[in-house]
Amino acid sequence: DAGITQSPRHKVTETGTPVTLRCHQTENHRYMYWYRQDPGHGLRLIHYSYGVKDTDKGEVSDGYSVSRSKTEDFLLTLESATSSQTSVYFCAISEFPGQGVHEQYFGPGTRLTVT
């Protein structure tokens, strides 16, 4: 298994509170991604990073921010959590997408419940 950990693995929080999820990798891969998984939607990209301090938005970025100060860590922050952000969040990593096939490797997920 790729060396990807996510913390916390489970969290329950109240509406309006800030929440930060952490993804840590030991593979030294350049690219990191945050997805959310909801029934019937597969996985949807929230934000991704293509290097330290280099990030960009995915298809469902509203209400989320990210930061990457080190190669190995990628943080996802919900500035003010809402019930619609109740979901399972997955982090993924991939090597620099030069020539070839660009598979991603996934962490174990964080289950977030916003009450």
Partner: protein, 115 residues
């Protein structure tokens, strides 16, 4: 824009019988295609990937998929289902746009294996 459609949300088979999970894609590029598997309360694991080197791709645990450009399909098959194959399966296409190779997920097919 790239997209992927998984034609069945649920598939039920008996142990020992063949498995067929259907996937159609839409792509204006020469696509990279993947199948991922997710066991209950686990992260996603790469089953196989299409690299354009061969249209029949073999993956882990006896699964294989055939890329058919004329039909824009990438169906996943296995000759004989095991109880341990019960999981959710995602067909994924890579979108080589911008500064990252994003993954576009299908909505998933849940495979049930009956004893």
């Amino acid at each position: 824009a790239q997209s992927v459609t998984q034609l069945d949300s649920h598939v039920s088979v008996s142990e020992g019988t063949p498995v067929l999970l259907r996937c159609n894609y839409s792509s204006s590029y020469s696509p990279s295609l993947f199948w991922y598997v997710q066991h209950p309360n686990k992260g996603l694991q790469l089953l196989l990937k299409y690299t354009s080197a061969a249209t029949l791709v073999k993956g882990i645990n006896g699964f294989e998929a055939e890329f058919k450009k004329s039909e824009t399909s990438f169906h996943l098959t296995k000759p004989s289902a095991h109880m341990s194959d019960a999981a959710e399966y995602f067909c994924v296409v890579s979108d080589p746009g911008g500064s990252s190779y994003k993954l576009i997920f299908g909505s998933g097919t849940r495979l049930l294996v009956r004893p």
